[in-house]
Amino acid sequence: MKRLVALALTPDGQVNDAVAAEILAGLSRSELKKFLAALRTELKKRIVQVAVAGRRGSTMEEVIAAAYPGRRLDVENDESLGAGVKVSAGDDIVDASVHGYIREMIEELGST
């Protein structure tokens, strides 16, 4: 499945339409499930998801892009964070938001 995912995705993270059509037509339901899981894993590796609350600064995006070279940055607004930024790259999450801080504080208070 990993090889199939590699075939389906172009180096810039786009989907090769012809290969995608072949996959949708040729794979069984169970194979499609496995393909989906492998595709999600691969996309998580290639795309850095950035959630920002409040004003977006170009400097912040530059810093994040420099931290994850060669990966596509997918930036979106998420006001539920309160303020700050939350970066998801692969299975690593860097939470520098007020929402994350409050959650951490609640966990700490709960353990005392």
């Binding site: 899981a37 894993t41 692969g90 299975d91 690593d92 999450i93 939470d95 520098a96 801080y101 208070l109």
Partner: protein
């Protein structure tokens, strides 16, 4: 906590607002099967690392595959929903240990099982899995750990820091022997330092655990004892971790310079729990369906028993693992493994037990590789002779049925052997001190009881110490230290013992 304290804590937190980004390595539950969870992600998690599920439950990473991590759920309720988030913690599974645990019954995570609140203050956070002390940190095993059981202390003495296996079929008195050993630590025989005892019950019925705890309480032994319990009704994960938790607690006391004793009751059930986990993890099954690393599982646990040198604090951790055999087969997989790991074994036999010889220790198959170094000088002096007499008796015992057809020397050996067997019998929960052991064994081994009828040997033993303490108090005082007896002391002892023996003929 008071409301004002909470307000103050929040104010302090908010007052020192320095937002540090929280970095987490996440995964997602893909499949769940009987306490084993497979999760994707967790690319930075390590083997044996503690992970935390979204609902606060914890797990232990047991396998790392290319795309998945297999996690052992560490909770009695192991139904984890598919899709739940799981995060790595970067820490190994640990337990908070301090003197507060003494007298308590806990599970492998340190949660109270005796119905009383438990708050462990001070002490240390100790990892359940640790590397055993290296050779440069160890000292030779030379200080006795008195069990109070004559046959053990005389024939297979246990030293502090030793690993001595108790092996035998069910209902042969294995647990009774270790309970006696724990009870005997109350008396601090020979003026030795107090031993902290940790009794680890693995896969036992809750009723049996409750009976053991009640017995320890009745005998006043809980003050220096901790019971770590994972009963038969708990998930295999808890049964697998229980001996490691008990060992970690023992290590804590050892590193504080104290002497600790850990009883693993029993490692057969521990092996069953690990076999169950391994099969669910999909690891290849080997002999008797046990996984390939079953030997390493027990060797890494038992290697942690040690006597530390002075630089390391001089503490010790003695391990008494128990193995239950099936139909007396000590050549089965797990018994042979543990026999080869330990420094000796005490073999208990059903036939001996049923014939009234209790403790049912088979002296021929039992051995202590530490030997006399872990005995008081006086007991070593008298037990050597008795061992020889007993071995000769056992080789001649089969001929005893011929009675008068035997020559006089053989009949004499059989007579003496019968007295030795009688003197080695001992009721349960009545450990005796080194002095009484030395006197009894000396009396039987040197033939002072040859004229006493075998059925009166028990009576002799009941009376001998009172007889000595009233008639030869000075002799008792000299012998109490456990030092080697000189010729004059031996003569005096012989005379005093013979005097009592004459009254019982």
């Amino acid at each position: 906590m008071k409301a004002e304290d909470l307000v103050r804590q929040i104010e302090e937190k908010l007052g020192s607002l320095a937002v540090r980004p929280e970095v987490a390595n996440m995964g997602r539950v893909v499949s769940v099967a009987d306490g084993i969870v497979r999760a994707d992600g967790l690319s930075r998690a390590g083997y044996g690392e503690l992970v935390e599920f979204e609902d606060g439950r914890r797990g232990l990473i047991m396998n790392l595959d290319e795309d998945f991590a297999s996690i052992l759920v560490l909770s009695e309720n192991n139904s984890v929903p598919e899709g739940m988030e799981v995060r790595s913690t970067g820490t190994p599974l640990s337990l908070q240990v301090s003197d507060d645990l003494l007298g308590r019954v806990i599970d492998p995570f340190g949660t109270s099982l005796d119905g009383k609140p438990l708050s462990v203050t001070g002490g240390s956070l100790v990892a359940l899995e640790r590397i055993a002390p290296g050779v440069t940190k160890r000292a030779p095993v030379d200080m006795p750990l008195k069990t109070g059981v004559k046959v053990v202390d005389a024939l297979t003495p246990i030293g502090r820091g030793q690993r001595q296996l108790l092996v035998g079929d069910r209902n042969t008195g294995k647990t009774a022997l270790v309970i006696d050993t724990i009870i005997n630590q109350r008396s601090r025989d020979l003026g030795l330092p107090q031993v902290v005892c940790i009794y680890c019950a693995i896969g036992q019925k809750r009723g049996s655990i409750a009976r053991t705890v009640a017995k320890l309480q009745d005998e006043g032994a809980m003050g220096y004892t901790i019971v770590v319990a994972a009963s038969a009704s708990t998930p295999a994960s808890l049964q697998y971790l229980a001996p490691f938790a008990a060992c970690a607690i023992g290590e804590y006391f050892m590193e504080k310079g104290r002497d600790a004793l850990v009883v693993y009751d029993d490692l057969s059930r521990h092996a069953w729990a690990y076999r169950q986990i391994s099969l669910l993890l999909g690891r290849p099954a080997g002999r008797e369906a046990y996984p390939g690393d079953i030997f390493y599982l027990h060797s890494r646990l038992l290697e942690r028993a040690a006597r530390l040198n002075e630089a390391g604090g001089g503490g010790s951790l003695t391990a008494l693992p128990i193995i239950q055999t099936q139909a007396g087969d000590i050549s089965a997989y797990i018994p042979t493994n543990v026999i080869s790991i330990t420094d000796g074994q005490i073999y208990l036999e059903t036939d001996l037990f049923n014939s009234g010889i209790r403790p049912a220790v088979n002296a021929g198959l039992s051995v202590s590789r530490v030997g006399g170094k872990a005995q008081s000088r006086s007991l070593r002096q008298v037990s050597g002779l008795m061992r020889l007499e007993l071995a000769q008796y056992q080789s001649l015992a089969a001929f005893s049925q011929f009675g008068s057809d035997l020559d006089e020397a053989t009949q004499k050996r059989i007579t003496r052997g019968k007295r030795i067997v009688e003197i080695l019998k001992q009721p349960q929960f009545s450990p005796i001190d080194d002095l009484a052991q030395t006197v009894s064994i000396h009396a039987a081994g040197t033939g002072l009881l040859d004229e006493v009828p075998a059925e009166k040997v028990a009576e002799f033993e009941r009376r001998v110490m009172d007889h000595l303490r009233t008639g030869s108090a000075d002799l008792c005082a000299r012998m109490a230290s456990g030092a080697k007896m000189d010729d004059a002391t031996v003569k005096e002892l012989d005379a005093a013992v013979a005097e009592l023996a004459r009254t019982l003929r």
